[in-house]
């Protein structure tokens, strides 16, 4: 068995005639933050949903910490923490009740669970809202609770789908620091993001996904070197064909915003 925490081989997902994920293959090593970039609808979220067991792959396999997510789902799911793109939580529970539930689902020791919940609520400045129902929380606060839930049972792998969306700058900074701490401790992070600065500043390796396929993969420097030391944003736009080009010509933009004078 290799030392990779996440091994993905020829992963494919079809929805009817649509191929959302097309034979994707990559690995994530311990101590690594792996960025998953791509335009809207490229297959990032679908890939993460397959890796977390929310969707079943049409073909291919994914092994998390040595456990196949399809063949050994319970063991594989114990290996990771997950924060989805939309942090929908149980509205009628308080953050403490929600985290207590998560702790029980992962079979945590009561003392450890209590200590961790206290630490995490304090870290994300949620202690004062601990008695409120989640249904009254803003997107950013729900995001923080979802992050607490992912961190609670101290997994080795983290799947984060657009984790900084909705977070205030302080919390976003805190999250980056936590992710770096995770990798220093030998964990692995796979995160999708649209924010190139985050990918460039935080990720050890990056995959650019387009139309369900990995179009480029490597370290940020390797990808930039592909296009003659351009920025990651330039590389991304070049690979995904996302240059505004003709569609956003000066005349056309002027015509679109004409009414806002």
């Amino acid at each position: 068995m290799s030392g990779s925490l996440l091994e993905v081989e020829s992963l494919t997902k079809r929805f009817g005639a649509t191929v959302a994920v097309n034979e994707i293959t990559f690995r994530v090593e311990p101590g690594e933050i792996f960025g998953f970039l791509g335009p809207n609808g490229a297959g990032k979220t679908t890939t993460i949903r397959i890796l977390t067991g929310l969707l079943r792959p049409t073909a291919g396999r994914a092994v998390l910490g040595g456990f196949d997510i399809v063949k050994r789902p319970e063991a594989a799911k114990r290996m990771f923490g997950y924060v989805p793109d939309e942090p929908n939580l149980y509205g009628k529970l308080t953050p403490v009740e929600f985290l207590n539930f998560i702790g029980d689902v992962y079979g945590m020791d009561p003392k450890r669970k209590r200590a961790r919940i206290g630490e995490l609520l304090d870290l994300f400045e949620l202690t004062s809202a601990a008695g409120e129902l989640l249904e009254g929380f803003s997107h950013g606060m729900k995001q923080k609770v979802a992050l607490c839930a992912a961190l609670l049972h101290e997994p080795r792998i983290y799947f984060l789908d657009e984790p900084t969306v909705g977070l205030d700058p302080k919390s976003a900074r805190l999250l980056k620091d936590i992710l770096r701490a995770v990798t220093r401790a030998g964990g692995a992070v796979m995160m999708s993001t649209h924010i190139m600065e985050i990918a460039q500043g935080l990720c050890d390796r990056v995959a650019i996904v387009d139309h369900g396929r990995i179009a480029a993969i490597g370290t940020v420097d390797e990808l930039r070197a592909l296009r003659g030391d351009a920025t990651l944003e330039d590389v991304f736009l070049n690979i995904t064909g996302g240059e505004p080009g003709e569609a956003a010509s000066g005349d056309r933009l002027r015509s679109i915003v004409a009414g806002s004078r």
């Binding site: 949903r49 977390t52 067991g53 929310l54 969707l55 079943r56 789902p73 319970e74 063991a75 799911k77 114990r78 990771f80 997950y82 989805p84 939309e86 929908n88 939580l89 149980y90 509205g91 009628k92 529970l93 308080t94 403490v96 009740e97 985290l99 207590n100 539930f101 998560i102 702790g103 029980d104 689902v105 992962y106 079979g107 945590m108 020791d109 009561p110 669970k113 209590r114 919940i117 206290g118 609520l121 202690t127 004062s128 809202a129 601990a130 008695g131 409120e132 129902l133 009254g136 839930a149």
Partner: protein, 534 residues
């Protein structure tokens, strides 16, 4: 850019929002075969109500029960009125304040009165669906059985069509006024409670009067419900058209005109009042700070098994969501109806233990509708939590069956105990009644859970909207089907073995039959859960 009038904006919004709802309802059913089956099941329910009313009315007419025939319609519409009050408070709140499209709509260049009017019309249209499914077949069956003149049909259709508008206008005004004085978050729960308590108290008071009526079928009549209620006018109109009430068709037309007048007298001022208060109410609904807690970690408990953790979560959600209580309140109301309506029913259907068992079986089927078929769907958009956690399908299934079964079995056991005491049964007979209620609760819940795991709905705006339309019909008819099968077993054992022995053997036979159904449906539910993709 062309500016539209308020009326034009209202019309445009109504049409567009209605289109969106129709598209959403269609797209919820990815499988067209199941959708077709659901529509057929809806047709079956319509036919059952029509035929039941027709046959019952003919039977009462043949028995010369003109007193009952004249007074039953007003009571039937009262049942609808009270049921709708339970539902419509939450709906009014959901349509206006808790609606997810409201921020988008408010940001559009649309006048507030146009927006409120459009939401009002949509709310009424939604209520019209209940009228179409439950009230229309009753009205048609009643009129057809009594050979009413042709004018009765269009007049009564107009009457039952405007009826929900009067009711909804009144409830929307109460909702909006409540939001002026209490915070939206408290109003939400508070109004649900008011919506449950007021009809329940009113209902029991009304039935208390029914319990004191005497005489045989031919001379018996129900006491008149309050004459100021529009439901009573509608009832008087229907019985007048049927030729058993006061005044004949002319009186029937008079009551229809009265309803139309009230609609046009109530709805415009109600809309004006709501429009004036809406903007402020909307802003206020976001008010309210975070509550500080003395001991933030008080909710952290000892280690529980995964099933206990799931059950605790679902039970907490149930206890904090009054919308989910109404199914049980409705089922208990039915028990109260059976107990107090005993005097009316017994001369028509002689009381036996088996009849009481079937009655409590129906209460269990009724009480299982919402909890069973919303069991998984209540996960809402947080379903990702379960699917990404190291939970086995059978653990989720056990919790998803235990929580609704616990609720419905409790209601069935209480109802069975009350019925047995009210009917004066001895201990073995009471055991048979309570046992049958619990068995039917288990069977109906498993049928509902199997349906919900096969066709879950995670995109609802409030829990009561999960079980609207065809979704509500299929599990209910499934439960009813099992009740018919077990009822046949009870009937057979009653014919062959007399007395309490017959009832107990019937109970045992029902246990065998329902166990087969539970085993098969839960196996299917487990496979559905394993295959679920979100």
């Amino acid at each position: 850019m062309r500016r539209r009038s308020a009326a034009s904006q209202t019309w445009l919004l109504v049409v567009r929002l209605l289109q969106i709802r129709i598209f959403a309802a269609r797209r919820e059913w990815s499988n067209s075969t199941v959708h077709a089956a659901a529509m057929i099941a809806g047709g079956v329910l319509f036919s059952l109500i029509f035929m039941g009313t027709y046959v019952g009315t003919r039977a009462l007419d043949a028995a010369g029960a003109s007193g009952l025939l004249a007074t039953v319609p007003a009571w039937a519409f009262l049942v609808y009125l009270l049921t709708d009050i339970v539902i419509a408070f939450g709906q009014a709140l959901g349509d206006l304040y808790a609606s997810t499209d409201m921020p988008l709509l408010l940001a559009l260049p649309v006048r507030i009165p146009a927006l409120v009017s459009a939401k009002f019309v949509l709310g009424v249209v939604q209520n019209e669906l209940y009228i179409l499914a439950f009230v229309l077949p009753f009205v048609l069956g009643y009129l057809a059985a009594l050979g009413a003149p042709w004018i009765a049909y269009p007049a009564m259709i107009v009457g039952i069509t405007v009826f929900p508008a009067i009711l909804y206008a009144a409830l929307v005004v109460v909702t909006i006024l409540a939001l002026r004085v209490i915070p939206a978050r408290l109003a939400k729960e508070g109004l649900w409670l008011v919506g449950a308590v007021v009809p329940t108290v009113f209902w029991i008071a009304m039935f208390y009067r029914v319990s004191h009526i005497t005489g045989d079928v031919a001379t018996m009549s129900l006491p008149p419900p309050p004459s100021w209620l529009p439901s009573t006018w509608l009832g008087w109109g229907l019985s007048a058209f049927g030729g058993v009430g006061t005044g004949g068709s002319a009186a029937g037309l008079g009551w229809t005109a009265m309803l139309l007048f009230e609609t046009f007298a109530i709805c415009p001022p109600a809309l004006w009042l709501v429009s004036r208060s809406f903007a402020r109410g909307w802003s206020d609904s976001f008010a309210g700070g975070i509550r500080r807690v003395a001991e933030p970690l008080a909710g952290v408990g000892p280690r529980h098994s995964r099933i206990v953790a799931l059950v605790t979560k679902d039970l907490t959600t149930f206890l904090r969501t009054p919308q989910l209580w109404f199914n049980h309140i409705g089922a208990l109301m039915f028990v109260v109806y059976l107990l107090i309506g005993h005097a009316v029913q017994t001369p028509i259907f002689p009381l036996t233990v088996q009849l009481a068992m079937v009655q409590i079986g129906f209460v269990a089927v009724l009480g299982a509708v919402t909890p069973g078929m919303t069991s998984l769907s209540l996960e809402h958009a947080a379903i990702w939590v379960l699917k990404s956690s190291p939970l086995r399908a059978h653990e989720v299934l056990v919790a998803k069956v235990l929580v609704p079964f616990g609720q419905t079995a409790t209601i069935a056991a209480i109802g069975g105990g009350l019925l047995s005491a009210g009917y004066g049964f001895n201990l073995p007979q009471s055991f048979a009644v309570v046992g049958f209620g619990v068995i039917m609760a288990a069977c109906s819940i498993s049928l509902g859970v199997a349906f919900d795991t096969s066709h879950p709905s995670f995109t609802w705006e409030n829990p009561n909207s999960i079980n609207r339309g065809p979704r509500m019909v299929i599990p209910f008819l499934n439960g009813l089907g099992m009740l018919v099968v077990c009822g046949a077993a009870l009937w057979l054992t009653r014919l062959t073995l007399h007395g309490t022995t017959g009832a107990l053997v019937g109970l045992a036979a029902s246990l065998v039959l329902t166990s087969i159904a539970v085993w098969e449906t839960l196996g299917r539910a487990s496979r559905n859960l394993s295959a679920l993709e979100v």
